[in-house]
């Protein structure tokens, strides 16, 4: 089934599904988009799904409809839902903003803004990424700062100055007090907010390479497995417990990889999108053959990892990502978009629904992703 395309007359930098309450067994229906490179940028809320019209022409039912939107100062560099009603955005002006969405989705208003959270003394420093774990919000920017906020407090909780001498492109929570950042010299840095010092708890990087990394995502169940993507379009899978090199390197795209996401409920599926205009769905088949799972990694660049699971870990929990052989069809990639578009800047996946946005000003929604 092909995804539905909707042209929304603004270049889309981020698309995010609104979280669904676990109590109600709903399909994801509402998503947010942020625009960039416009004279006036907007954060918009869309709905896709039954509009209460029973129509044989089901195609048009499914087209996303705009519910509400709000002006946004500067490019939307990142967008995350804090909870069902609140949305956090990172701006190219250096501001971090919380938007409030009315329960009936009829309006979007500004709840709080931290102006110039990221700054230079004589210029604007874009805030490049933001990540939430309610009520905490962490943002990173081109100024190399890592900032911790609490959603209900007006003052910033903590600033790590000079966290990085180069631009930090993405951030993700590892544990409740730990975040992982990636920067433009190809390093992953782990920060522990419980520590007083402003230096990272751990630094991982590719030896011999300085490929800028643009995105990072953590495995939903296993905290130590992290996927990153960067300028060369390769997908790197890391085990943060085990030192300095990525576990697997997979050739994914022919240009910068902008976002990588593990599927939140079915982590054997991974999605990546790239500047080359493609969106790939990666599936690792963790078959019943447990022994093959314990084979050595994808390619010869993997230096060392144990062939047996670490002591104390359940066999079945060993992730298929850390083992397996890509040449034996254990990793399959499928293109999700029918033809090549301009850069796909963002994607989000929830349950069986996928939404992505492109520089061709189109949003694609796929509601029957095979996961």
């Amino acid at each position: 089934m092909d995804p539905i395309a909707k042209y929304i007359s603004q270049k889309i930098s981020k698309t995010r599904w609104r979280p669904i309450s676990p109590a109600l067994l709903q399909r994801p229906e509402v998503f947010a988009t942020g625009s960039w490179d416009n004279e006036s940028n907007r954060v918009s809320i869309w709905s896709v799904g039954d509009h209460g019209v029973s129509n044989t022409d089901s195609e048009f039912d499914e087209e996303p409809q705009l519910l509400c939107d709000s002006q946004h100062d500067g490019d939307v560099m990142d967008l995350q839902f804090l909870d069902q009603d609140r949305l956090v955005s990172a701006s190219s002006s250096g501001a971090v903003t919380i938007f409030k969405l009315q329960p009936d989705c009829q309006s979007l208003s500004l709840a709080h803004v931290w102006e110039r959270a990221h700054w230079y003394s004589c210029d604007n420093a874009p805030c490049t990424a933001v990540v939430c774990r309610s009520p905490e919000v962490v943002s990173v920017g081109e100024d190399g700062r890592v900032i911790l906020y609490k959603a209900d407090q007006t003052e910033v909780v903590r600033v790590i100055e000079n966290a990085d001498s180069s631009t930090i492109h993405a951030v993700t929570f590892l544990r409740t007090t730990e975040v992982l950042t990636v920067n433009s010299i190809g390093q992953l840095k782990m920060w522990d907010f419980r520590q007083q010092s402003d230096s990272p708890a751990q630094i991982l990087s590719l030896t011999g390479g300085r490929v800028p990394l643009h995105c990072v995502d953590k495995h939903p169940n296993q905290q130590h497995i992290v996927a990153t993507g960067g300028q060369d379009g390769m997908l790197y899978i890391w085990d943060v417990r085990q030192g300095n090199t990525p576990f697997s390197l997979i050739e994914a795209h022919s240009a910068e990889m902008w976002e990588v996401h593990f599927h939140p409920s079915n982590p054997n599926h991974l999605f990546t999108c790239s500047e080359d205009g493609s969106l790939l769905h990666w599936e690792t088949t963790s078959g019943s053959d447990m022994s093959t799972l314990l084979q050595r990694g994808w390619n010869s660049r993997v230096v060392s990892h144990s062939a047996v699971p670490l002591a104390g870990e359940d066999d079945s929990v060993v992730s298929a990502w850390l083992a397996g052989d890509s040449s034996k069809n254990r990793l399959e990639a499928t293109h999700m978009l029918p033809n090549q578009t301009l850069s796909v800047n963002s994607l989000d996946v929830l349950e069986q629904c996928l939404v992505c946005g492109t520089d061709g000003e189109a949003v694609y929604v796929h509601r029957q992703v095979p996961v």
Binding site: G144, S165, A255, Q340, D359
Partner: protein, 588 residues
């Protein structure tokens, strides 16, 4: 040079030109800058307003619906360019027809949306009528040129064309005709689509036509006026047809109807006789043809060049002309002298699109397929895209790198590196220089690092310096920086002999800048004063010679330096002594 048909319209600029001040102006990519000059025709001089006015065309290129048109058609355009040359022509024709239909459906979607929003904004109705005209012309071109319908099906296609644009008329006409049509006319509507040859059909049709004519002559329908009218129409009597002018609201509808009843097997070359005469008959002697009519007439005359030319002038819409000519070019319908035309049209489209600054990414694909000057324009254009964020710069760089535009890559990286340097982001600045392989800038940044080190006494941005990797080799100064940092690290890890070796190599390999030699030698002091002998005899001799080199060439401020030199000389001498003893001792 085309003559101007209409009077140019005046635009009033509020706040400028008072007191008979002369205005100066400067063209921009999509707009005009206007300012007041000091020059005044008469009267005393007075201060002029300091403001500069930006004047933009009224047409809202950035209107959301037009943007949709641009984006959707861009996708189709790119797909069209990818059609390979070696596919057999029959398959290609069907591909081209489907691409043409895609373009038209995009136009129609835009039109529908504009019509839905109509009433809220008046410029939209203007756009709707332009889009209607565009779709009409495009459809006709598709039928006549791209699909190149042969004699039998030509009329069918034209019927469809007219029906599509005058659907309400058609239903009424059908009602009128079918309610009274006798059974024998049923067979007429079952026009064979390929089941019979053209001649067979022609024969049958003539036979039927003669029968109708005979009915008329015999006054079979004299009793019923309606039936008689219908019979006259079926025979193709022009006067009767003209009487139905309100039903046929346009001359081309009249043309197609006329052909339907008189020449259903019309061949394409014969079309223009009927077109011209139909237009004259329909419009009558008083009315003069509108630009749209002239364009359609040129199409019926198969004068493609004229169609394009008239479209460019009459419809102020480069989008249409650019995409249509591109499609026709792919169908190999444009002759060589038209190619310049194509190039010009495409450049005009690009400057038209430029008004909406966000569309710079779309423009790149068009530049790529602009013959002759596309590359040059792209090079000029891409350097002028404002770089507000690193992410945008990365996208621009990707475009340049994919096209081997190394000059532009270097200049963009330089801009980003300079900006980073200004904001004291040395790591970012170095990253950008490394990407551009800009040795000179890398040297500059290394100097900054070293300066910082001299001032503060320690290195900043260790995460960067410790991880330079092979990029270190970009510039000598950078290599030195990396190695020097490594020396400090080795010292910190108490790996003294390695540190010593490194330090020495830094001096003897001459990658250390002279100004820092003293610092390096001073760094050697703690190593010399260790209890254990670290520098060997040979190494000590080398250090000594370095010191003498320094002393002779670098020093100006003798007092301070001479103390240090004395200390060093002493330490070196002591080390030499201990080293000679150590190396001379035989272990037993």
């Amino acid at each position: 040079m085309e003559e101007v048909d209409v009077e140019p319209s005046t635009t009033l600029i509020p706040g400028a030109g008072f007191h008979q001040k002369h205005l100066g102006f400067e063209w921009g990519p999509g707009d005009l800058l206007v300012y007041e000059t000091n020059y005044k025709l008469q009267g005393p001089r007075s201060a002029s307003s300091p403001s500069v006015h930006v004047v933009r065309r009224d047409e809202d290129i950035c209107s959301p619906i037009l943007r949709k048109l641009f984006n959707e058609s861009h996708l189709i355009f790119v797909g069209l360019q990818k059609i390979k040359e070696d596919v057999p022509s029959k398959n290609k024709k069907s591909q081209f027809v489907s691409i043409s239909k895609n373009y038209r459906s995009v136009i129609r979607a835009c039109m529908e949306e504009l019509q839905q929003n109509a009433g809220k904004r008046s410029p939209d109705t203007h756009h709707v009528s332009i889009l209607l005209a565009i779709e009409l012309i495009w459809n006709l071109c598709e039928v006549l040129f791209i699909d190149a319908a042969p004699a039998g099906s030509l009329l069918l296609h034209l019927l469809d064309w007219v029906r599509l644009h005058k659907s309400d008329v058609d239903t009424r006409a059908r009602e009128v005709l079918q309610s009274d049509s006798p059974a024998q006319h049923q067979s007429y509507w079952d026009v064979p689509a390929g089941t019979q040859t053209l001649t067979e059909f022609d024969v049958k049709w003539r036979h039927w036509h003669e029968e109708c004519d005979r009915c008329l002559q015999d006054n079979t329908f004299a009793s019923n006026r309606h039936l008689e009218t219908i019979c006259k129409i079926l025979v193709g009597d022009e006067d009767t047809l003209l009487e139905q002018r309100e039903l046929l609201s346009t001359w081309y509808h009249f043309l197609v109807t006329r052909l339907l009843f008189t020449h259903p097997t019309i061949k394409p070359p014969d079309l223009h006789y009927y077109a011209q005469s139909s237009m004259n008959m329909f419009l009558g002697p008083r009315a003069s043809p509108e630009p749209l009519d002239i364009i359609l007439l040129s199409a019926f005359e198969f004068d493609l060049h004229q169609v394009i030319k008239d479209c460019s002038i009459a419809l102020n819409n480069w989008w249409f002309v650019a995409h249509l000519t591109d499609l026709l070019d792919h169908c190999k319908l444009l002759q060589s002298h038209n190619l310049q035309c194509v190039s010009h049209i495409r450049s005009s489209y690009l400057s038209y699109m430029h008004v909406c600054v966000s569309l710079w990414q779309l423009a790149v694909d068009y530049f790529d397929h602009c013959p002759e000057f596309g590359r040059v324009y792209l090079e000029l254009q891409i350097e002028r895209v404002p770089l507000d964020t690193e992410r945008k710069a990365i996208k621009v760089l990707r475009i340049c790198e994919d096209r081997q535009m190394s000059e532009q890559v270097r200049s963009i990286c330089k801009i980003m590196a300079k900006r980073a340097l200004r904001n004291n982001r040395l790591g970012s600045a170095l990253s950008w220089s490394i990407r551009a392989k800009d040795a000179a800038f890398a040297t500059l940044i290394s100097e900054r690092f070293l300066q910082d080190y001299s001032n503060k006494g320690f290195f900043t941005d260790l995460d960067l310096l410790d991880n330079l990797g092979p990029a270190m080799l970009l510039s000598d100064r950078l290599t030195f920086l990396g190695k020097y940092r490594e020396f400090h690290r080795l010292y910190g890890e108490k790996r003294f002999s390695e540190a010593a070796r490194l330090l020495l190599s830094l001096m003897t390999a001459k990658i250390a800048p002279r100004s820092l030699w003293m610092t390096l030698l001073t760094d050697a002091l703690p190593l010399l004063e260790q209890k254990e002998v670290i520098f060997s005899v040979d190494q000590t001799y080398e250090l000594m010679s370095c010191l003498e080199d320094c002393f002779s060439s670098v020093f100006q401020d003798e007092d301070i330096e001479s103390t240090k030199t004395e200390l060093l000389r002493l330490a070196l001498a002591r080390n030499l002594a201990m080293a000679i003893v150590k190396e001379g001792t035989i272990e037993t």
